[in-house]
Subunit: 193 residues, 3 copies
């Protein structure tokens, strides 16, 4: 199940990287880079910090999906379709958020990290790619502004640190999706100080 979730997540994250690249008037190379960083950057950081084989550089599926999204995106002109607020996109993005957070937390647990490491890896795997993209295009990362997005990752990392039994993972996965979609619909946000 998580593998399909990963694929859906890579598609959703590539689309958001593609659209932001086009909107920032990057050239074709910049747009491809924006899609790659958004979809695969978080996983590369995860593999670097946990000293695993870098998945995106060893399995060609991930990169092929990103490339496919960019080509399809240009062909279908998806950047003109305000896709980001469509239900299908919000849901796909939530699936990616939940599945990437879980993969980050599991990698951290396997590496023997403490709770800070597990929560951080959960967060950086899910939102690190988007952060790199936002830094590149000179914006304050969305994660520092977007309401209740990274918080979902953090909660997933937190829960998984205490309850990392195989059978519980699907429930956490669903929990993450529901929480994000619910937060999106109800426009939740964290307090400022």
């Amino acid at each position: 199940m998580l593998e399909i979730a990963d694929i859906i997540g890579i598609i959703a994250f590539s689309i958001s990287g593609f659209i932001i690249g086009v909107k920032n008037k990057l050239d074709l190379l910049g747009i491809i880079l924006s899609a790659f960083f958004t979809a695969l950057g978080g996983g590369i950081i995860r593999d670097l910090l946990t000293r695993r084989e870098i998945f995106a550089f060893n399995n060609s599926l991930a990169g092929s999906i990103v490339l496919g999204v960019v080509i399809t995106g240009i062909y279908l002109k998806i950047h003109q379709k305000n896709i980001e607020n469509k239900t299908i996109f919000v849901l796909s993005d939530a699936i990616g958020l939940s599945s990437f957070s879980i993969s980050g937390a599991l990698a951290a647990l396997e590496a023997g990290f403490n709770i800070f490491g597990v929560v951080f890896l959960s967060l950086i795997t899910a939102v690190g790619g988007g952060m790199i993209r936002d830094i590149l295009i000179n914006e304050v990362p969305f994660i520092l502004k977007e309401k209740f997005y990274g918080t979902v990752s953090i909660l997933i990392g937190f829960i998984l640190y205490f309850f990392h039994f195989g059978f519980i993972i699907p429930f956490i996965f669903i929990f993450g999706i529901v929480l994000r979609v619910f937060a999106y619909i109800n426009n939740w946000h964290l307090p400022k100080i």
Copy 2:
């Protein structure tokens, strides 16, 4: 002695990350991340570059201190108290600068790095966390503007490269603190070209 110095440094760096997060109107998650990156980011880069176990993800003391500072900071509203120019803060920050620089230089020496590696690790361990924070909030890193701050790290790395005998480290530690405080009081800065 260095362990206490590290703790003081983590506290001072967390406070500065906390205050900058609040001042940049980040939400609660953003503020916590700002404090974490400022206090622990440099050490994570150090451990990544020297291929050591990542301290912050294996020892829970560091993360707990950061979390404690954020909670205390919110409770005491330290962001309204202009604490950054108080003697106690300047001194704590100088202690952190000196002790983080030494830990970076020692890790680089142990990894067999040359003088450029030792000086770079000394610098990036002490100021890397603050640089990440400044990049995230879309500011030119303070280290590129702040007068005579990173220079202290560089001098520490330089001296330690040539004289890395155990008994000399406390003297270098004191030297770093005195130099930074002295530079702060006298408003030293490096020349421009």
Copy 3:
């Protein structure tokens, strides 16, 4: 041959880092960092991602060249000489671009990376240093705006992935230089979408 090319590349990249540092009114430390990151940052990322010994921290030649360039640059005031559009600089920069791209692609091939890894390493080795510098001074990285610069790296990575025979490398090296210089003269750029 590639060793001389690397040296020429380090010189050219240091000069561009130096000039950009001066133009952004950084202090002396900032200028030195700008030159170091531009010249050596890409190689450090390459070595980190492919888990090799970090060249710049083990061989002192690279760092010494950067330092030499900065000292010479200050002495000769090269930032006042509009050197960036002179033939000699464009050529040296193209040599660096080509040779750094090749070194990145070869390191990725040796690490067993797939085509995405080889192309990415080729690109990040050549332009990663400049990207870090641009992020630090709070600019959108030149690579996302500059016409047909990173594209040269990508083509080199792509070709090397399919044809990595020793005897072909000099030809790819020359190809990269000619392509970049040609693109520069004719003001080529990639399409936007």
